[in-house]
Amino acid sequence: MRLYLEPSVLVKLFKKEPNTEKMIDVVGAIDERRDWFGCTSRWTLLEVARALKKDGKPKELIELNLKELRRHKISFIDPKKMILSDAEQMLTSYNLYASDAVHVSTFRLADRDRRLDAMLTDDRHLRRFHGILKALTLDQISL
């Protein structure tokens, strides 16, 4: 399975909530199995950091969590000018947050080069991506 990892599923790695164990298995599969691939925007690290800060995690723990994220075989794609220009156009066409538009544009670029199966996201964000790209939740993934 070849996935784009949206920030909300990555934040799950550092919390105890439904599907957190499954998310650990997804990252494990990306690390260990050749038929699995995971990527996301480098911008995601900022979103994860902000979410953890909002969740009350101390600085040292946030830094450790981000270092942990970087230790896995997840590819972090730089938000290049081309991606930001595409995101700008997305915002005029769809009702998206600016960050969502960056993720959609990064997904499209990665899909062109690396043939992704879907964006892995949570229920709340799934609705927003409907009709724009193929999105899956952790419940829809089998390992």
């Binding site: 723990l61 942990e68 949570d122």
Partner: protein
């Protein structure tokens, strides 16, 4: 055994905490407490990837427990970005 000495600067609060915990846990010295902490931390980072993630998740929950969902936190952060 070849040993390497490492020095570290601590804030006043950290130094006080180190003093207290050294006494409470019965370490023979502050150096011994620091050595144990470093070994524990390095052991954590050396765990297999999945186990490390599970341990880190537990540490996150113990240090800063929260009932807020990941999706809710990201949604709020997105809203902030758009307000800027």
């Amino acid at each position: 055994m070849h040993a390497v000495s490492v020095s570290a600067k601590l804030t006043k609060r950290e130094a006080e905490l180190l003093d207290r915990l050294t006494r409470e846990y019965g370490f023979i010295s502050k150096s011994e407490a620091i050595r144990s902490a470093v070994r524990l931390y390095l052991n954590l980072l050396e765990l297999r990837a999945r186990d490390r993630l599970r341990a880190l998740q537990l540490i996150n929950e113990l240090i800063a427990p929260s009932a807020r969902m990941s999706s809710e936190l990201i949604e709020e952060a997105h809203g902030e970005d758009d307000e800027l």
